[in-house]
Structures are given as structure tokens and as C-alpha cells.
Amino acid sequence: MTDRNEIWRETLRQSLKAKERMAIERIHMPELDPAIRRTNNQEVNQGLSIEQAKLEASRCIDCPNPGCVSGCPVNIDIPGFIKNIERGEILEAAKVLKLTSALPAVCGRVCPQEIQCEAKCIYIKSGKQAVAIGNLERFAADYERESGTISIPQCAPANGIKVAVIGSGPAGLSCAGDLAKLGYSVTVFEALHEIGGVLKYGIPEFRLPNEIVDVEINNLRQMGVEFVNDCVVGKTISPEDLAAEGFRCLFVGSGAGLPRFMNIKGENLINVLSSNEYLTRVNLMGAGRENSDTPVYKGKRVAVIGGGNTAMDSVRTAIRNGAERAMIVYRRSENEMPARMEEIKHAKEEGVEFLTLHNPIEYLGDKEGRVRQMRLQKMTLGEPDASGRRSPVEIPGAIETMDVDMVIVAIGVSPNPIVPSSIDGLQMSKWGTIVVNESMQSAEIPTIFAGGDIVRGGATVILAMGDGRKAAAGIDAYLKS
């Protein structure tokens, strides 16, 4: 299945010359028409057909030392799954993915492949477009799901050792999956009523349908992972309680669920809210839909502050909720935006305005306390700062006022302190993240491991998953030592 020297794979390699493979243009994944997607929550990217997928897979020249694998935070055997697609064994391809990734249908959708696996693709070196690894990953996972014959990864015989995972986001799910494969008895504790963490409350359905997340979670259930919702570790149950119940190790993947604000005047006006609140209302609570009691304000003139993926998710959600004018307000230029290029492109197609080099300095409200206007300071780019990006500098006196009826603040999140503050003796950074030994994700206390945004302070799904994997290996090594 994964051996590069198997006969089928050698035959496949020889069936087409590398030069011929490299002459094929990258297949563009079909997308929903922007005019249609402005009005609904349907997934924007429509997925490849089997013919498109096989053709795209044939572009991969099956390098002997594939750079893509080293570019993947969970080291997926990328040529291994792609060659299975090329030969038409899609279910085999899905199995290869699941050897290392607990959530392939998720990663195929939300990973920034352009800066990871695809950035290391041999095609890039020759000035061509990389093999569409992410699109192929998504194809294999979707094909398997739609086939109705989902394979459950083989698990080692149960060893009866209990491990607790705190948080059911990407770090926790990935850690739980790997531990289950190693034979551990894993229970995942989630504070919210739904399993999935940021995959459910944060990422909108037009990028990642909840149903797809649920299928991946069900796969973990079938591997024996148990889930407990409505349970805040540190509040409902203490880490000591968990130890007393026989959990030998604890993985903390509780995320960065504490929104940042700018602390400017008027930020507590009604309809100025965090992206976390806005997205949670819409994504997790289904606000605005027929069968949901959760209210959400449907702004007509919406400003989203920030330039990351969450800002793009928020502004595109506002469009779908009927905004006549939806704006990204970002203090640097588009070049410095941390959002994925695809997100920026999709946002523009959907009619989002980009007010780059603008920074809000004050919000003004009416007598009921609702936001009505924002004051923006125009910026210019100065010298590069610590992040290597050119830092924004105010243009003295260049201030403009603009009408808005909703402002969504998406300038980042801080680690949520509830879990770390309930564990005595953890080493914390000044940013409130848990300090870990990076090779094992182990914290100061030998039975405690941590990963994802509670360690990184705000990163990506796949980096969190990579941490979860490393932690699972670390926990296994610790428990066997």
C-alpha cells in the first residue's frame, strides 16, 4: 500500500515519463459561483471528479525523496496516497492518509498546503504549479466517505491504560486517534455541547461542513475513543479527579479560546463583537436559521478588523447574513495579510471590500449604545518589525469616519486560562501558553502533555494535529518507560 518499490507502483511510474507528467497543467477545483454562494452556506470548493483526481495524481512524479512529506506537520505519505489515486485504488489512498492523519477530510479543506507540503513539491523548483496535494487528499477522504465503506484504522490490542484528552479540537482529536491506535483507552473531555472544538465553532460550513467533521469524529468513536461533552476540566472535574479515576496521563489541547480586543473607545458598544462570538453564534449555535433560538444581528454595513483566516471567515459569513457592505479593515497591506491566498481570493469574489492600511481608533454609537460609525487611522508601511513584516505607521492627521452597524474584531486570540490554571506546577510563558518540551510535547509535570493553540497561542489546524501526534508518541514513550 505504501511501499514505493511494489511492482504496481514501479509499473505506474514507468507508464508515463516524468516530462509528460510535468506537461500536465494543475487541475483547478470547481467552485460555486460567487453570486450563488453569497446567499447560502454551501461549500465553496466543490471537489474534484474521479477523472480530474486521477489526472492530477498523474502529475506527481513519485520522487524517491519526496520533499512534500517533510513539509507536512503530520508527515503523511503523500506520494503513497497520490499513487493509489492514480491507479484508481481510492479506498487504499484513504487508508494511507489515515495511517498518520485522524482528520483527512478536514485537512484537505483547511490546511495551508501552499506553505507546507505543496511548497516543497518538485514542481515549484521548476517554476510550475505544485501537485494539488490538498485537493487530492480531500478527494480521497470524500470518496471514501461517500462510498459508505469507511475503513477504521487498525488498533493495537487494548492495553487498559487510561489517558484523558482535554479539548476535542484538532490537537485533541489527533492525539486521541493515535493513542487509540496504540491500544490506549482514551476519553476526550469537551467544554462545549458539541465535539470538534474550533472545527465546529470557528470554521464556517462554507469552508468545512459540520457533517464532515462529524464523520471523522465517528471514525474515532469506532476506534474506541470516548467523548464526554459539557465538561470543563478545571471546573466540572479537576485534574486530580481524573488521576483518581485512573487516567495515567493528560493531554491538554484546550485551545486559544480567549478573544483579544484592541481596548479602544467604543469597543463595548452593542454590535461590536469578537469573531469568536460571531462565528460561534452562526456556526455552532446555528443562529439565523429556522430551527435555532440563538439570535445574531445581521449587519448591513459590517467591518471586520484583522487580516487572518478568522477575519476572512467572519466577513464572508457577514456577506451570507445579508451585509450590503462588508469590509476587511487591516492595518498593514495585503502582502502582509496572514490569511490564505485562497480565502482572500474567495472573499474578493464574494464582494468583500479591503480597507488595507487602515486601523480603527474609535467606535461611535447612538443613544441606545449601538455602534453607528468607526474612526479609522490611515497607515503607511515602515521598517520590518520582529515578525519580519513591514510595520504599519500612522499617517499623522489622516483619519476618516465611516458608517457601520456592526464591527467584528478578529485580531487574534489568547490561550484560555481555565485548564492551565487548574494544574499546579505547570510552566507557563508570559503569553499564558503552556511551555512544553517540543520533541514530546511534555509539560513540566511528567504526566501532562500539551499541544495546539494552548502551546502555540494561535496557529493552524494541522500544526495542532502535528502536536497531538507528537504528544501521543510522547505519552506512549512515557508510559512504557
Binding site: 467544554a191 465538561c231 466540572t236 472535574i237 480586543f261 462570538e277 439570535p295 449604545g369
Partner: protein, 271 residues
């Protein structure tokens, strides 16, 4: 899923529920709250815990049917299930022997005051409880409160029970009568605002337990933010109790009305 094991009607719109929640019953402290999601379509909203029975594994909630979600909850009966309850959340009340404490409660705010009065009494305080409501039938938990209170003063707007007047009249009378070391107030925001203004005049430290709009209740969304001493705080993780004299009640009252129109619309639907 949490089973309702007991339901009792306190007044026309106020009900008491004893609900199975063994872990919360064990770990909750005075001042903590829970987040409720009544059914699958339900929104998440906070309710302060009135009391608990760790042996039976139940918590007691006192609910006033005012909006869509509280009305849905109040329609449930013994044997029914609440789909989701999570907690205990928020910081527990800071309890010590302050001396004489006046607990000023308005309406359904009397329920979350119950465990606070109990804890204050156990810590050796002299506890004077003012229970205020519009009229007699809205006065709740007088008997339960009498177990912990050295003195109970009932105030009604219409004079139908106890003394006629507002909660602030009751508090001021006590302040004029004897030295008060601390005031704790729970009730509608507007009531807490006036209690706070009053005690500020007399320089009496005052704690208010705030009940703002929340979604997750764990610090994730920031819907509950309030300005305290000029700084933004999250009621769910930094509170729910704050130094009342530092709270910007006008902003809080505004923010409680954030979804006024949607709530009115939803309310009309279930009428």
C-alpha cells in the same frame, strides 16, 4: 442530558427546579453559575446555582420565565430532561468574616443569594437580607433564607407584603441603623445600579453579581464583557461578582438589550 427530579412553582412566573448534575453538585461553590441549553434548538444562557445536594447529585435552579429560553425551561416538568448543563462556571464568591453584611436581593436574584448568605453566615458574619419585589406573590425563598439570615427585611413596591418601598429604602434604613461592613447585591441590573449608588454614598464596599448575555461561559466569546474600573472584564471568567462601585451599569444595561428586537420576535412566536 440532565433529568429534572423536582419542580416547584414559587410565583406565577418563577419556578424552582432540582436537576440531576452530580459532578456540578459536588464541585460548585457559592457564586458559581451554569450554562443551560434547554433543547436541541436552544440557545446557551447562564443561570446562577441556588443550592445543591451532593448526596443526591442535584443542583437547584430558580428560573423566572421572561424570554424564550427561560419560558421553554419553565414549561418542562419533573421527569423531563434539560439537554445540556455545563458548570460550575465563574469565580466563587469571596467569603470571609467581614462583620455585618447586608444582602440586597431583587426578585429572582434572591435565589443565587441563598448560597452566598449561607456561606457568609458560616464564616461568622451577621447577615441581614433584604428581599425586594414588586408585590407579595413575587417574594421568594423567605423561609429558606431565614435559616441563614440574622434578620430578613421584605420590601414590596406596592406594600402588599413587608414594608412598602424599594430595595434601596430597606438598605438605607439598615445603614442608618448600624455599621455595615459589606453589601452584596443580586437582582436586575437597574436595581443593582441604585444599590451601588446608595452604598457608594455611605462608603460601604459592595459586591454585585452580574448576569449578562453569554454564549459559551468559559471566556471564549466575550459577549459578557463589562467595564469595571475603566477596564473591560469578562463576567464569565473574571466574575460574575465585581466591586459594584467600579461597574459601568449603564453600559451593562445597554448591552443586555443587544438582542431586544430578536428576543421580542422570538417571544411572539411561542405565545
Amino acid at each position: 442530558m440532565n433529568k429534572i427530579v423536582k419542580k416547584e412553582q414559587y410565583s406565577e412566573n418563577v419556578f424552582r427546579f432540582d436537576v440531576e448534575a452530580p459532578l456540578i453538585a459536588k464541585s460548585r461553590k457559592a457564586g458559581n453559575f451554569v450554562i443551560i441549553k434547554v433543547d436541541e434548538a436552544g440557545e446557551r444562557f447562564p443561570l446562577t446555582i441556588a443550592s445543591s445536594d451532593p448526596q443526591k447529585g442535584t443542583i437547584t435552579l430558580v428560573v423566572q420565565a421572561v424570554g424564550l429560553s427561560t419560558r421553554k425551561l419553565c414549561k418542562l416538568n419533573e421527569g423531563d430532561f434539560i439537554t445540556h448543563i455545563v458548570g460550575p462556571l465563574g469565580k466563587a464568591t469571596h467569603i470571609e468574616n467581614f462583620g455585618t453584611v447586608v444582602c440586597a436581593c431583587g426578585g429572582v436574584g434572591t435565589a443565587p443569594m441563598l448560597p452566598i448568605a449561607e456561606a457568609l453566615k458560616k464564616a461568622g458574619n451577621k447577615v441581614i437580607v433584604i428581599i425586594a419585589a414588586r408585590s407579595k406573590d413575587l417574594i421568594i425563598l423567605e423561609k429558606e433564607m431565614s435559616r441563614f439570615a440574622d434578620e430578613i427585611v421584605i420590601m414590596t413596591d406596592d406594600g402588599s407584603y413587608g414594608k412598602k418601598g424599594l430595595v434601596t429604602n430597606g438598605v438605607e434604613e439598615i445603614i442608618k441603623r448600624e455599621k455595615v461592613d459589606l453589601c452584596v447585591t443580586i437582582g436586575p441590573a437597574i436595581m443593582m445600579k441604585f444599590v451601588s449608588l446608595l452604598t457608594k454614598k455611605y462608603n460601604i464596599p459592595t459586591v454585585a453579581s452580574l448576569n449578562t448575555i453569554m454564549v459559551d461561559g468559559t471566556g471564549m466569546c466575550g459577549a459578557c464583557r463589562v467595564t469595571v474600573g475603566g477596564k473591560t472584564k469578562f463576567v464569565c471568567v473574571d466574575g460574575p461578582e465585581f466591586d459594584a462601585h467600579q461597574v459601568d451599569f449603564d453600559e451593562m444595561i445597554n448591552r443586555l438589550g443587544a438582542y431586544k428586537e430578536q428576543e421580542a420576535e422570538a417571544n411572539n412566536k411561542i405565545k
